[in-house]
């Protein structure tokens, strides 16, 4: 993997894991994962529940020093993380939440600008509980981007939002990525989300990737794009779900039996 020919032409990697293993007791959740993400690349990670997506993300984020394992993880200097819940600290006002951990005189100014970018201008002094779920998640996005990370890790960041809000968040995320340009590793349950957002989709199964699919679609894509359903079908097949059977022949065949 290290001497992959693509490396010669591909942008320099911002993340590289080599032979990454993690286990909980006898369960080998990650069993030799090799992953490379290029600068500015958007990679989505899908897989069945319990397949080890969060475990991989936590390993990359360095949040798993109590877990058994081996392997090498190379990450850039600035990595940030978005969780499924916003994890805003309830005792800090919004702006203080966004700039938490940032230092320097300009931090608050950047925080203010970042809040404006996610559509929360004027809410700097609000308490987190005064925000809706979608607004809280937007604030969490602002917090994750205020330090201009080179790599953004996200574990089902939109999983708790309703469908409509999720669509808006997709558009917002795209716009934010255009301006800030970090590489992204996004864990999601939603195959459509993966196809609509990512440059590359990885399917994880039995501790390793079973599919590494490049999505050759324009950056501004919609669910109506004719190729989207093709990619969706491939991913669903890789997840062992298979495309729904809709041909009339098979329907009549069922009713006759």
């Amino acid at each position: 993997m290290a001497t992959h020919p693509r490396e010669l032409t591909a942008p320099p990697a911002v993340l590289r894991t080599t032979a990454l293993r993690r286990s909980f007791g006898e369960r080998h959740v990650l069993d030799g994962v090799n992953l490379e993400i290029g600068r500015g690349e958007f990679v989505a990670l899908i897989g069945r529940s319990g397949s080890g997506k969060s475990t991989l993300l936590r390993a990359v984020a360095g949040l798993d020093d109590t877990v058994d394992g081996s392997g090498e993880v190379l990450v850039p200097e600035r990595v940030s993380l978005v969780f499924q819940d916003s994890r805003l600290l309830p005792w800090l006002r919004l702006l203080d939440n966004v700039v938490l951990g940032q230092s320097g005189a300009a931090a608050r100014e950047r925080g203010r600008a970042m809040l404006a970018e996610v559509g929360l201008a004027g809410r700097e002094r609000a308490w987190p509980h005064e925000l809706s779920g979608g607004e809280q998640q937007r604030a969490a996005l602002a917090r994750s981007l205020v330090g201009e990370p080179q790599l953004l890790l996200a574990d089902e960041p939109f999983g708790a939002l309703d469908a409509l809000t999720r669509i808006r968040m997709h558009a917002l995320l795209r716009a934010l990525l255009r301006t800030h340009g970090p590489a992204v590793l996004l864990v999601t349950h939603d195959v459509d989300e993966a196809v609509l957002l990512a440059d590359r989709v990885l399917v994880i199964e039995d501790g390793a990737f079973s599919l590494d699919l490049r999505i050759d679609l324009p950056a501004e894509r919609t669910a109506e794009h004719p190729d989207v359903s093709r990619y969706r079908a491939r991913l669903l097949a890789a997840l062992g779900i298979g495309a729904p059977v809709t041909s009339p022949a098979s329907l009549s065949g069922r009713t006759s039996s």
Partner: protein, 302 residues
């Protein structure tokens, strides 16, 4: 809405025969189903929270007690040697206030309470932070204080008198010890019970240890501290009452035990009222402080 429903129900029941089977019920409700459903303006939902508190609401109960007491005294139901009426208590209280006796005693008590509360709070918080932040501190402090907790403060009085005499140091120490335990227990458990999600967030943001303590750990433990602090304030008055009835030469407790010798029930009552006012006021102040400091919280208590 209920106004229109209840008569209909009552009528239905009155009209039903003694043995109403399911078919009967269906028959009775059938015509109603044909009519257009009655609609009426939505009244606002019954709120299941506790609603708003009107200003000064907490005074209502005590005032009622006072009223009943006065009525009973005026009606001659009470033996004045055992329990005088509130009017007599008020007059005696006024007298004590005029000649400065009350101010002296109240000042002495208040001084002890505030000093003991301050020392106990500082000690409790420092010990909780030491035990809550470091494993070494935890193993040294926590076990020790759990043992201390099992020994009632009053049981320490003989030893403390032996060590400190019966002066002010002894009294303040007893108060501080009574304050220390609730502060410690609640602050320590709040510090160690902090949500792991918050810890994880702090780690992912790369906070330094000091930033973590200041922005995450301490503010997160503040509600727990306040639970302890409110118990501690009540506890400080309790400890005070005990130490002031033993070997004191000033203070509300001393004033009351003197009055007991001369069977002056009105003065005893003045003392009780003062203790009550102290307890009530201090609790109100703590609530106020808590509301201001924890303004980010939205709970039923506010």
């Amino acid at each position: 809405m209920t106004g229109t429903l209840i008569p209909a129900l009552a009528r239905g029941r009155a009209a039903a025969p003694a043995v109403a089977g399911p078919d009967r019920v269906a028959e009775a409700s059938a015509p109603a189903a044909l009519e257009a459903p009655r609609i009426s303006p939505q009244s606002r939902r019954r709120r299941l929270g506790r609603g708003r508190l009107f200003p000064g609401a907490r005074l209502a109960g005590p005032l009622l007690v006072l009223l009943v007491w006065q009525v009973a005294a005026s009606a001659g139901l009470l033996d004045p040697r055992l329990l005088t009426g509130p009017d007599v208590v008020a007059v005696s209280g006024w007298g004590l206030l005029q000649d400065g006796t009350l101010a002296t005693h109240v000042g002495a008590s208040l001084g002890r309470a505030v000093l003991g509360l301050a020392l106990g709070t500082v000690a409790g918080v420092v010990l909780a932070v030491v035990a809550g932040l470091t494993r070494v501190g935890e193993s040294l402090v926590d076990g020790t204080l759990q043992v201390k907790r099992a020994i009632p403060n009053l049981a320490l009085i003989p030893l403390l008198i032996l060590w400190l005499g019966i002066g002010e140091e002894f009294k303040v120490t007893i108060v501080a010890l009574g304050v220390l335990i609730p502060i410690y227990i609640n602050t320590y458990s709040a510090l160690t019970g902090i949500d792991t999600k918050h810890i994880e967030l702090a780690e992912s943001l790369g906070l330094t240890r000091w930033q973590y303590v200041r922005s995450v750990l301490l503010p997160g433990a503040l509600p727990g501290f306040f639970v302890g602090f409110r118990l501690a304030v009540v506890g400080s008055w309790m400890a005070l009452i005990v130490v002031e009835t033993i070997n004191a030469t000033s203070g509300i407790g001393y004033m009351m035990s003197q009055a007991q010798l001369y069977a002056q029930s009105d003065i005893i009552l003045v003392g009780l009222v003062v203790y009550g006012i102290f307890g009530f006021t201090s609790d109100a102040l703590v609530r106020l402080l808590e509301r201001r400091v924890l303004s980010w919280r939205r709970t039923l208590a506010s």
